[in-house]
Each structure stands twice: as C-alpha cells, then as structure tokens.
C-alpha cells in the first residue's frame, strides 16, 4: 500500500513545491547561507523544471525512435548482419561520458541546449537498444508462426503481434534511459543549457546548501515518479499477457 501510494504523494509534493515554493522555505532556511536566499529566485523553478523535462525529451525521444527501429530491424532474419554495427554505434554512445560529449560538441554546436541534447541522445541509445533487442528476439516463435500462417502481412505482424509483445521490455529500457537522462541533464547547465542543474550550480558557487537541496531533491523526485509511473505501466502489460516479470 505504502509502495503504491508513494509515487502519488511524491508527485503531489513536486507540484505543490513548484506552485508555491515559499511554503517550503521554513524547511530549507536552516541550510541557507544567507537568510534572504532560501528559495532560488533567479528563474522560476516551474520554468526550470519544464525546461529540464523538455531537454530530456529532446534527447530521449529521438534516441528511443532510433534504438527501437534498429533493434526491430536487426532482430529479423534480413537485418541480423547489421547487429555488430548497431552494437558499435550504441556502445560508442555509452563509452564516451556525457561530460566529454559536452566538451567535444560545444565548439561545434555552441553553448546552450544542443550539446546537452546530443549527450543525452547518445547516452540513451544503449539501454533502449539492448532491452528492445531482448524484447524482439525472445518473442515466442509459435505465436509469430501462427500470425504468418493466418495470413497477416509483415506489417500487421509487426504492429499487432511483435511490437505489443516486445513492449514491456522496450519500456524497461526506456525507463532506464529516462531516469539516467533526468539526472544527467543537470550537467547541461555547465554549458548554459536551462535545467535544474542551474540551481545546483548556483548553490555550489555561492556555497548555499538550500539551493543544492532544492535542485538535487527536485531532480531525484522527478526521476522517482517517472520511474514508478513507467514501472506501473509495464507491470500492467505483463499481468495482462501473463508473461513472467523479467
């Protein structure tokens, strides 16, 4: 009961905090270096949170599309030859740390949003690809054969059978990538991307622990809520199809 309620309570707290941050000022005041600087006010926390989420979406949505299409392609007989190449691509994305990606891309893309989007995109490929690949390559063969034998076209088999059956594992990968991206997006603020990292960096530069807590806890809470929501969705899918929890 506690476990199921927790994400809702946390979600409500986030909304309340973003709408009326001053309500939480008494809680944070003991950590502030300066009693006049308790709640970060150089930009609205609501706007920063939205920008943060937008940044994550801009990186992860294209990463998910590319990784899922690649996984679906290499898991069928005609695409198997491209598996090694796909692995190389996603592994490069994972091997180069996001900070290094920022350093390498700023000269080309300039300061601001795009280097961070680039880093999140590359960092998100691997977990989504590997999970989707596991989903597409462990489909029950008797089910796929039945679909062919009943006269479904290849497209019908993909959309009606393969994708829905692979979906729980695809979503597992997406959840992992999203949670990683939510926390990684904070470092984007070192190259002037608008994100909750801005609050954390401000806290570090003026040595204000209240700012650090706001930025850090808010980011973590967002990650937890997103994680729980996607987990709930995949669990429901798995219960429906009777596939065991992976």
């Amino acid at each position: 009961m506690m476990g199921r309620l927790f994400p809702w309570v946390l979600g409500a707290m986030i909304v309340l905090f973003l709408a009326m941050p001053q309500l939480f000022a008494p809680l944070l005041r003991p950590f502030a270096s300066n009693p006049d600087q308790v709640i970060y006010d150089r930009a609205s926390l609501m706007a920063l949170t939205s920008a943060h989420l937008l940044l994550v979406a801009m990186g992860i949505v294209p990463a998910a599309l590319l990784a899922i299409v690649m996984a679906a392609f290499v898991s069928r007989p005609g695409g198997a030859d491209f598996l090694p190449l796909s692995r190389v691509i996603v592994n490069i994305g994972q091997t180069v740390p996001p900070v290094a990606v920022l350093a390498l891309t700023v000269p080309m893309l300039g300061f601001g949003t795009w280097p961070t989007v680039c880093a999140l995109f590359l960092y998100g490929l691997l977990p989504i690809f590997e999970n989707a690949l596991a989903g597409f390559s462990t489909l029950p063969q008797s089910v796929v054969t039945s679909a062919r034998a009943m006269g479904m076209t290849s497209a019908q088999i993909f959309w009606r059978v393969e994708l829905p059956l692979a979906a729980p594992l695809v979503l597992d990968g997406l959840r992992l990538a999203l949670v990683i991206a939510l926390s990684t997006a904070t470092i984007g603020s070192t190259v002037a991307a608008r994100s909750l990292g801005e609050v954390i960096i401000a806290g570090l530069t003026v040595n204000n622990q209240a700012y650090l807590l706001q930025g850090g806890v808010l980011t973590a809470a967002l990650a937890l809520v997103l994680h729980a929501a996607l987990q709930g969705l995949t669990n429901r899918m798995r219960r429906k199809t009777g596939r065991p929890l992976a």
Binding site: S142, M150, T153, T241, G242
Partner: protein, 315 residues
C-alpha cells in the same frame, strides 16, 4: 479437393520431402504419420507456403497455390500447432476473430461467429471470451486454437501435432471433439502426428512417411492388415496389431441370434470393446442391446468370442 503433386523440398542437397503425392477428398481427415525428421511437418508447411516447395505443386480445387496471393491463400487455410500459438495479449474472443477480421467481415458477423465457434468447442462465450490465453488450461487453449483456425470457414485445416502437448485423458477428449466438429463442419483436415494410434483412430486415410518419402497411403484398415514394408509394420507394434484391427471393425455387422447372460454391449461399439468386455467378465458371448433406443428389450442378439477371434485373424 486438394491435390499434392510431386512436392519436394531440398535442404543442402538433401531431399527432406521427396516427390510427395497425395489427394485429400473434401470433408475427410488425412493423417500423416512418421518419426521425427521424416519430413512430415515440412510437407504440411509447404501447403500453406510457410515453406516454399522446390518442386511440385499444390492444387486447391484445381487452382495452383502459387497463383494465389500468399496472404489470401493462408487466410483460406486453418493452421493449428502443438503449443496452440494463441496471441497472449489478445482475449480468447479476439484470438478467434483473427482471420475473419483480416478478411474484413462486419463486426456483427464476427461477433456471432466467435460465439458460435466457442459454443461448438464447449466454451461459454460470456465466460471464456473475455479471458486471456494464460488464464486457460492446456486443453482449453488447444480448443481455442482449433476454433480460431476454423473461424473463417477455411477450405482446409492443417494440424501439426495438435494434441502432442496434452495429457492422455484430455488428448482423447480433444480427438473425439475434433471428429465431431470435423463432421459438423465438413472440414477437410490434414494432420501430422508421430502417434500411430492417434492416426488410426482419427484418419479416414493415413499416409506413412519415412525419410522424406510417402511409403504407404491408404485407409487405416489397409495400413494395419497390409503394411507395405517393415517400417510401416514397425510403427504398428506387432503385438498390438490384432487389437488395432479389431478396434477398426464395428460389431454391428457381426451380430448373431442367440442368448447370453450379463451386461449388454451397444451395437456401435467395436470388436475390440467386445473382446475386452469378454475377457474382463469371463464370458464367451455378450448380449447386444442398444441401451438408448430399447433399454428393456430382451437380448436375442449376441456377439460371440468365436466370431471375434475369426475376424481378428491375420489374412
């Protein structure tokens, strides 16, 4: 009628199926029996072109299957496999509706047909229709698999070891049910099995396959009494042959007049049933009474042990 002419499949220079010829009369059950690796499943899958034949043709009512669209052909042929292959993310009702939906039937037609199919297979549509496959027992899932295959009134039904995963009791029930449903729908069935007993009890015609070749094809009676070669003979275990033969003969045609004591046997039973009752109750004759039409009729008709022994003799 379905005609299979000179059908072959070659993998790495080896003929997995070698010039198979076969004719399936509309409304009959043909069973292909063979050991694993005999090519029987490959032959079956060449009919709905899950596997493409290297040589030979399949004609459905005179039309070459290669001239039909692949998807159109498959929608005309029902297909049932051992572990049923139901779509785990769809309800029972939606599974059964698969091919009618692909064929673009109207929603009310599909709904009515799904109800009809589930009722045919003794599954209450209101109770089982909304369930998911993982909520069914093995036997129920297999029935849904057959219902799904028959839903769009296919020209023929292909069954690849359909009852292989069921326990003996459920399996016998499923076989009985298949026979009933097949008669009711007048379906043309081609089944593959490694179990000769299943073939003998279900098939109107039996084809025995070995190493890619059809070594004998004929009615069950002929397979039992005149096996074409030692391989076919080996499939019908020697000691069982008389009983298998007797199981294929109804006692109705061999009733004589006379009197006999003890419980009666029904006229639609087989000679094997009669023999086993005689052995079990230590009698050499049984009264024959149709318990349904004349429960109290005096028993003047009997079946005798002597006749059973004579009829079971090797020719």
């Amino acid at each position: 009628m379905i005609e299979i002419k000179g059908l072959s499949k070659i993998y790495n220079g080896e003929r997995v199926v070698d010039h198979a010829d076969m004719q399936l009369e509309t409304g009959t059950i043909t069973v292909i029996v063979g050991t694993s690796g005999s090519g029987k499943s490959t032959l079956l899958r060449m009919i709905n072109r899950l596997i493409d034949a290297d040589e030979g043709t399949v004609l459905i009512d005179g039309q070459d299957t290669r001239d039909m669209g692949l998807d159109a052909l498959r929608r005309r042929i029902g297909y049932v496999i051992q572990d049923h292959g139901l779509f785990p993310h769809w309800t029972v009702a939606r599974n059964v509706a698969t091919v009618p939906k692909l064929l673009g039937w109207s929603a009310p037609d599909i709904k009515a047909r799904v109800r009809e199919m589930l009722e045919t297979f003794q599954l209450d549509p209101d109770r089982y229709g909304p369930r998911f496959p993982h909520e069914l027992s093995g036997g129920q899932a297999q029935r849904v698999g057959v219902a799904r295959a028959l839903a769009a009134r296919p020209d023929m039904l292909l069954m690849d070891e359909p009852f292989g995963a069921l326990d003996p009791v459920i399996r016998a029930q499923a076989q009985d049910e298949l026979r009933t449903v097949q008669k009711q729908f007048g379906a043309t069935v081609l089944m593959v099995t490694h179990d000769m007993a299943e073939a003998l009890s279900l098939g109107d015609k039996i084809a025995v396959m070995n190493a890619g070749k059809i070594v004998q094809i004929g009615p069950p009676e002929e397979i039992v009494t005149r096996p074409a070669n030692p391989f076919v003979r080996s499939l019908i275990a020697a000691t069982d042959r008389p009983f298998r033969r007797l199981a294929l003969i109804g006692l109705e045609d061999h009733i004589v007049s006379g009197t006999a004591q003890g419980p009666a046997i029904a006229p639609d039973a087989s000679l094997a049933d009669a023999l086993s009752q005689m052995i079990w109750s230590g009698r050499d004759a049984l009264p024959v009474v149709d318990a349904q039409t004349a429960p109290d009729a005096p028993a003047h008709k009997i079946i005798t042990l002597r006749d059973v022994l004579r009829l079971g003799q090797a020719q």
